[in-house]
Amino acid sequence: MTLRSTPTRSRLLAATTAIALAFGATAPASAETLAQLTVGTDVDAGTLDPRLARDTTAFRVADLVYSGLVQLTPDLEPVPELAESWDSPDPQTIIFTLREGLTFSDGAPLTSEDVVFTFETILDPDFNAPQRALYMPIDSIEALDERRVQFNLSMPFAPLLSYLDIGIVPKALVESGHDIALNPVGAGPMRLASWDRGSRIVLEANPNFWGDAPVVERVTMQIIGNNTARAQALEAGDLDLIQSPLAPQDISRLSRDDRFGNAIMSGLGVTYLNFNANDPLLADPAMRRAFAMLVDQETIVNDIYEGVDTIANGVILPSSWAFSDEIAQPTFDIEGAVSAFAELGWTDSTGDGFLDRDGERLSVTLATHSEDPNRVQSVEYLQAIFTMAGIDAQVRLSDWPSFSTGYVQQSEHQIALLGWLNIVDPDRMLFGQLTTDGPLNWGGYSNPEVDAALQEGRASLDQEARAAAYQTAAAIIAEEVPYYIISFQGFQLFYNADLPIEVTASPRGYLRGVVLPD
């Protein structure tokens, strides 16, 4: 989504006209540049080493400071970045050819050795790269010459291209002991000017960038932990741009304010219920389906989330090439759910208002984490609906580490509300999560047909065949409900409408569409 704004105010910026002549060549007649762009962000980056990035700010800064072999467009299409082209002589081999004359921001040359080093360190188990699992099908990487690098895969792995936008790091510098986590050196459009931990990260244009020069000279990422405070800082004029995560209430207010331009689009995340199939109560798909019929998506999405997300129909994002509107999860139907429970033997035989079977009351625990008030409200609302249907529903709230690593990931939950982010390829949200014994399959779901479809989805290099495989898996998942996808998360970006540059939003919150010329 590209939005054009008109310059009318010059308070925060020094709009300058770029000099049109460079060494005798004629450059575009005039292009407006921005001296300073201040962006509000929710957390400080834990590291600025792209191989170790794990938080939104680290990813967003790394995208500006580093360049990957490919770049994902806002539509998630991999396009050439450092690699000018690539070729697949067989399904398990990809050879990338780097652009000529690439350098890092310190002027050192960038070669295929740097690419090999980047991925070998990511794959090294002792390096503890958070995203290592994404690259596991890479068997080996070889530098064929200075500009060509060959990836040998242990199996055909179609999603790999979507993951190859991770930043390439300078081998010689890192091996000399330079800590790129604190002082990053990459080949992206910006470079680090200063980092005031916990307060702000200041980036400046990288004069050695291989592509067109950025139209923003300095970017300050101002860290403001509170979502509403971040929105108010934009309204006060102390920030130029903010983006998700934002509170639904602030989104509604800002989107009605014509001082701000906005980009409101589908994001790359889902909010879902994780059903624990290992739990005796939830082992039967029919039982999970009956519970799923009690999920009032309409109220959760439109009232609690104030319509910033959209109602989901299954596990494939609407922005994905694999999406199909024919996938259908169970929909909200209290009476239908009560009938389904009755068919499974759960009735109110004692007249106490709760369903029971063999003298045992139908009890279930709904859990989520306490940091997100909308998720808490959603779970409390579900508790009320469950109770109306005759289920003794309890709510369990705890902070994120207790909830995720100490509870759901230990498979101690029954029904847990949480989310997945960064789903740049359907494989990323499905393979590890829903194949038998998958590393992220915390609910212990197992279905050989789903396993086969997800395996085909990642192995086939034909996008149509992949889409068909994911749709097959999605249909079974919607029927058996190991996951119930409540909503497709929205992505929102707001910016000062007086900025004299084009703002092109990316659903990942990456800022190249803002700092680089269109």
Binding site: N128, P130, A229, A236, P401, G406, Y407, W420
Partner: protein
Amino acid sequence: MLSYTLRRLLLLIPMGIGIVVVTFGLMLLVPGDPAAVLLGQEASAEAVASLRRSLGLDNPWYVQLWDYFTGLLRGDMGVSIFQNQAVSAIIWSRLGATIELAVAALVVATVIGVALGVLAAMRQGSWIDTGAMLFAQLGVSMPVYWLGLLLMLFFAVQLGWLPSIGRGAPLTEAFADLFRGNVATLQHALTYLLLPALALAANSAAVISRLVRASMLEVLREDFVRTARAKGLRPPRVVWRHALRNALLPVLSVVGVRFGTLLGGAVLTETIFAWPGLGQLTIAAISQRDLPLIQGLVLTFALLFALVNLVVDLLYAVVDPRIRLD
């Protein structure tokens, strides 16, 4: 007084040991593995186990605790799991901001609290008294994060008088500039400091105003006040010079205790106003289960609190000659 001060300083050692043990125990009891948090949702169990090994988290708790204590004796507070930097360096880089905010809030709270308390006591039963006590009730009951957002909305968004977020130059630098004849740096720093300091001070100002009012009402009925009035001293002089000095002793002890509350409140205030101090850091460290950083922060907060209370106790002896410290 010197031996008293030394004794109190020595007492900080067992206190520090106790705090480390209790914090360590609490973090062991709270679910949530820092290695799993660090690696994120997509990490495999093997990757988490490998990271636990490299961080030493798979050692028995007593080994981890012993390592921490021996490190402390060498002046080493460990390395932050998430920031991969020395805990002492991280804390030191942010300590000034939090002390600046807490001290500014303490000054604001004391000035507002004493002024309101005295006025309310002087005009007991009047609308001034009612207004002051209404303010006190509001100040006590309003959560600091809510008040912070309201102040930001009014003064930064609606009126545009003050910046909504961030910190200007450190006050130490601003005062140094002032002595060189440059007022602008101080003005700039104060515009950033005012809103967070006000938000943080409101609760303490309310408590202090109630205490001053009660204490002043008692003192104003004392014989020496009547004598002073009978001697023909002007009422303001009686109140501000004679009565207030005697009414301030209980206030002094409260101010010491309030410093702890202010440090706690700073955790939330800093998050709202993007104030780069220890408070923001604490929130992040707890949510990431960054144990070495949490230990260092708790220890720092406790030492700050203990030192401020020691200073307050020493001030007692200065303010009230009847008190002897030995």
